[in-house]
Symmetry: C2
Subunit: 133 residues, 2 copies
């Protein structure tokens, strides 16, 4: 993606559609990329990250996201977002879950790629007031 | 601090010593700084972040940290670290807790300051093999 906002949108689109190839394309193909699903272990490196998404997508639950950016910082080749992910998912207690996530993207050869997704459960809060997705 | 590694060390030193003034000095004094303690709510802005530390430090539990950097990215004015915090704390189940944290620092007027701390509980893993602290 040519800008980090677009890369983040592509991440959530791939997540919602459980599209492993699209998700893989979002990430940098590097040994030091890192993914932490809520309460999960550290998945380090592109292969481990991909396998994590494969397992999650194989579980097969349809999820819908509303994403609210709480804070973001951007430099010419590095961008971070911390977001509230308001998720509709059948397995959640009342069909709704709130995850806090920090996403980091780097500019690789002219393309913004994800290098970190760190998600964690959050206490229930107000509904989103803005959305990037 | 004149480099982000030193800023991160100062963060953990302030955390261990429950020193609110030292912790406040680590952070940027900005309305968009963000702190998420494990399973806690989003604390947005320097005042809310400081109040969160005040409450945590008032609880008064002595904690010792061993910090292992899992991945880090750095640009001239923005640096991110994702770390394992191996914490010795009396209230933990067996005196030991593992927290995963993403820390972000920005260069403000020649000084590196923290702008994000996002902590979350993790499954127990291997002991640290390296330390920044």
């Amino acid at each position: 993606m040519s800008d980090p906002d677009a890369a983040q949108r592509a991440f959530y689109t791939a997540f919602e559609s459980a599209d492993l190839e699209a998700m893989t394309a979002v990430w940098a193909d590097d040994p030091d990329v890192l993914c932490i699903h809520p309460l999960g272990a550290v998945l380090l490196g592109a292969e481990a990250v991909r396998e994590g998404w494969r397992l999650l997508f194989t579980a097969g639950e349809a999820m819908r996201f509303r994403v609210r950016v709480v804070a973001a910082w951007r430099e010419p080749a590095l961008a971070t977002y911390t977001v509230e992910e308001h998720i509709e998912a059948p397995s959640a207690a009342d069909g709704h879950a709130l995850v806090l996530a920090t996403n980091v993207f780097r500019l690789h050869d002219g393309q913004w790629r994800m290098v970190l997704h760190h998600g964690s459960p959050a206490p229930r809060q107000r509904p989103p007031v803005a959305s990037v997705h």
